[in-house]
C-alpha cells in the first residue's frame, strides 16, 4: 500500500484540471451527492437527446482530490452513453472497487482504472464512489419519473 497507488499522476491531473466541470442550464435531470462525514458535495447535471443518450454531463462541487478526480473521470466516460449503458458502467465501477469486476483494458477506461488503487485505502473509498453513486441515483430517479409520466 503506497501513496503512489492512490495519488497517480492521472488522478492528480483530473483533480487539477477537471473535465466537464460546470453546470448545464435546463438539464434533463440533476442530482446532488454528499458525504456528510467529510463535507464533500457534488451536483451532477445531465442533458439527454431524444433517444435518452447522454448528450452532455457536468459536475460542480467541492471535495478532495479523489472525489473530484473521480467525478471528472465519470463524466468523461458517461458522455455519449445511453442510460442503460451508463448504469452498466456504474455497476462495473462498483465491482472494480470491490475487486470483483474489471473494465476492458482499453484507452477509454484507462483513467478510471487508475482509481482501483483507492481500494487499498478503505477510508477513502467513499470519496471515489460519490460521483458514481450520485449519477446512478440521478438516472434511476429520472427513469422512474419518466415511467410515472407515461402511466
Amino acid at each position: 500500500m503506497s501513496l503512489n497507488g492512490l495519488y497517480k499522476e492521472v488522478i492528480l491531473d483530473h483533480y487539477r484540471a477537471p473535465r466537464h466541470r460546470g453546470i448545464i442550464e435546463e438539464p434533463s435531470f440533476q442530482e446532488g451527492g454528499h458525504n456528510p462525514s467529510c463535507g464533500d458535495t457534488l451536483e451532477i447535471f445531465v442533458r439527454l437527446d431524444d433517444q435518452d443518450v447522454i448528450q452532455a454531463i457536468c459536475f460542480e462541487g467541492h471535495g478532495c482530490s479523489i472525489s473530484m478526480a473521480s467525478s471528472s473521470m465519470m463524466t468523461e466516460i458517461m458522455e455519449g452513453k445511453s442510460l442503460e449503458e451508463a448504469l452498466d458502467i456504474v455497476r462495473i465501477f462498483e465491482g472494480m472497487m470491490q475487486g470483483e469486476a474489471e473494465f476492458p483494458d482499453t484507452d477509454e477506461y484507462l483513467d478510471v482504472i487508475s482509481l482501483k488503487g483507492v481500494a487499498d485505502f478503505p477510508v477513502r473509498l467513499k470519496c471515489a464512489t460519490l460521483a458514481w453513486d450520485t449519477v446512478k441515483r440521478g438516472i434511476t430517479r429520472y427513469q422512474s419519473s419518466e415511467k410515472m409520466a407515461e402511466e
Binding site: 503506497s2 501513496l3 499522476e9 467529510c38 463535507g39 478532495c64 482530490s65 479523489i66 485505502f121 477510508v123
Partner: protein, 429 residues
C-alpha cells in the same frame, strides 16, 4: 511519573518541566508502528487521548477482582465496586474543585451531559420566547441539544459572533442579553481554533443578566487547571476519554440548587427511592440522574486517569502543550501555502489549518503514511466552518506526551503533501 528534570540530549528543543520520554513509557500504544518503519505520531488528541497502562490495568482489575453492580448487592464485591465508583466521584470533585461529590453526575460523555441539562433543566424551565446564547465556535454537541429543546419549548437560539482572530466577540455578546436570556452555553476551549474563552467573565455577564452559564469543558478539563467555583459556572461538562480515561464515561457538574430543581433525565433502576405502579419518588442528586447500571469500570478508570494527570500537574501539562503548539505554529509559518486558523497569542494545543490546492482529507491520508495521525473534516463544527468559509480543515491536537520530535515529523510529512500536490502541473505531461 512526573519529573522536573530534563536530562535528555534534546534539551534545547524540549520544553522544561516535563520528562516526556519517561511519560511516554506509560502509554503502550505510543510504542507501536502504524506502517512499516513508521512509529505512531499521535496528534489527534482532541478526538480522543491515549490511555496510560495504569488506567488499562485498573479496568481489567475491576473485571478480574471486584466486578459487581453498585448500590445494590449486600455482598463484598458490590461493596468494593460501590466504594471504588464513589471514590472516583470524589476524585472528579477535587479535580474540578466542586463543592461536593454530590455535584458530580456520571454520564457517558460530555454530549450526554449537555443533553441531560437540555432535557432535565431546559424542558422544565424554558418557556416560549426564552433565549439560549451559544457561540459560532461550538461543537455540534453544544448546539443540537439546544435546538431540540428549543423546538420543544418554543425557546430561541442566538449566536455569539467571533472576532476576526477567532475569539468570542464579547461586545456582541453584551448586546445579546435581555430579560429573555436564560442560558449561555459556551466552550472552554474551541476544538477547532484552540481559542481559550474567558468563561469566568462570561459567567459573570450571564449572571448579571439573570441567566445561567454552561461551560463545555470537553477540550478544557483535559488540558488546563479547572476550578468550577472560581469559574462560577452553573453547569460544567466533560468527557473521560479525552483525558486518559476510558470511553463511555463523562461528567456533569451542576450547582446543588439546580440539581435539586431539575427533573430526572432518564427513569429506571438506581435513581428511585419508592416506586408505585403510577408514580415514584427519586433519590437525591446525583443518583437521581443515574438510571440503570452505570459504566462502573469506566468511572473507576476515569478516577485513576485523574490521579495520573494530576500527578503530572495540570499547569505543567498546559505549559508543555503551549510550548509545542507555539513551536508548531512558528514552523508552519514557513509554509507559504498554509493557512492557520484561530488566535495567534494564548491558545490551547490545537492547530487547524488548510493547504492551498490540497483538500484536508488528502493531507490526512498522506501524513498517515508517515505515521502521523491527525484529523481532517468539519470537526463537528459546521457553523464555524461556514464562518471560516471552508468546507473542512486539517487539525493537529497536542497532549502532554507529544514531543518536538513528533512535531518535526508532522512538519516533514507536510512537505510530502506539498511534493505530491504542489507541483502537479510540472509532474503531469
Amino acid at each position: 511519573m512526573s519529573s522536573q528534570n530534563g536530562k535528555n540530549g534534546k534539551l534545547k528543543k524540549k520544553p522544561a518541566g516535563l520528562n516526556v520520554e519517561k511519560i511516554r513509557e506509560d502509554f503502550p500504544i505510543l510504542g507501536r508502528e502504524v506502517h512499516p518503519g513508521k512509529p505512531l505520531v499521535y496528534l489527534d488528541n482532541a478526538a480522543t487521548s491515549q490511555k496510560p497502562q495504569v488506567v488499562i490495568d485498573r479496568l481489567s482489575e475491576y473485571y478480574a477482582e471486584y466486578n459487581a453492580n453498585v448500590h445494590r448487592g449486600i455482598h463484598v464485591l458490590s461493596e468494593e465496586a460501590t466504594d471504588a465508583y464513589e471514590r472516583a466521584r470524589e476524585k472528579i470533585q477535587h479535580f474540578i474543585h466542586a463543592e461536593s461529590s454530590q455535584n458530580i453526575v456520571y454520564t457517558k460523555g460530555a454530549t450526554e451531559s449537555i443533553n441531560l441539562v437540555a432535557n432535565a433543566w431546559g424542558r422544565k424551565f424554558l418557556e416560549p420566547g426564552d433565549e439560549i446564547l451559544v457561540s459560532y465556535m461550538e461543537h455540534h454537541s453544544n448546539l443540537v441539544p439546544w435546538q431540540l429543546v428549543a423546538a420543544a419549548t418554543g425557546a430561541r437560539i442566538r449566536g455569539i459572533e467571533l472576532t476576526k482572530d477567532g475569539h468570542l466577540d464579547l461586545e456582541h455578546l453584551e448586546t445579546l442579553f435581555n430579560e429573555k436570556t436564560k442560558l449561555v452555553a459556551v466552550t472552554q476551549m474551541s476544538n477547532v481554533l484552540g481559542t481559550i474563552n474567558p468563561v469566568r467573565d462570561i459567567a459573570e455577564m450571564a449572571h448579571r443578566a439573570g441567566a445561567l452559564m454552561l461551560v463545555d469543558g470537553a477540550q478544557g478539563a483535559a488540558h488546563m487547571p479547572t476550578d468550577v467555583r472560581q469559574m462560577d459556572c452553573d453547569f460544567y461538562v466533560f468527557s473521560g476519554h479525552k483525558m486518559c480515561g476510558p470511553t463511555g464515561v463523562g461528567v456533569l457538574y451542576a450547582k446543588s440548587d439546580l440539581l435539586e430543581a431539575m427533573d430526572p433525565f432518564m427513569g429506571g433502576g438506581e435513581m428511585i427511592e419508592e416506586v408505585h405502579l403510577d408514580a415514584s419518588t427519586y433519590k437525591d442528586p446525583p443518583w437521581k440522574f443515574e438510571a440503570g447500571t452505570p459504566n462502573i469500570a469506566q468511572a473507576i478508570g476515569l478516577g485513576y486517569a485523574i490521579d495520573y494527570i494530576r500527578n503530572i500537574g495540570m499547569d505543567v501539562i498546559h505549559a508543555h502543550e503551549s510550548d509545542l503548539m507555539n513551536y508548531a505554529m512558528q514552523r508552519m509559518r514557513y509554509f507559504d501555502d498554509i493557512t492557520v486558523f484561530g488566535p495567534l497569542g494564548t491558545r490551547g494545543g490545537i492547530v487547524s489549518f488548510t493547504m492551498e490546492g490540497t483538500h484536508p482529507h488528502d493531507i490526512a491520508t498522506i501524513v498517515d503514511q508517515e505515521g502521523v495521525a491527525l484529523r481532517a473534516g468539519h470537526h463537528c463544527a459546521q457553523p464555524l466552518m461556514r464562518k471560516l468559509q471552508v468546507g473542512s480543515t486539517a487539525r493537529i491536537s497536542i497532549y502532554f506526551y507529544n514531543t518536538t520530535d513528533e512535531i518535526d515529523k508532522f512538519l516533514s510529512a507536510l512537505t510530502q503533501v506539498r511534493e505530491i500536490f504542489g507541483n502537479v502541473a510540472q509532474r503531469t505531461v
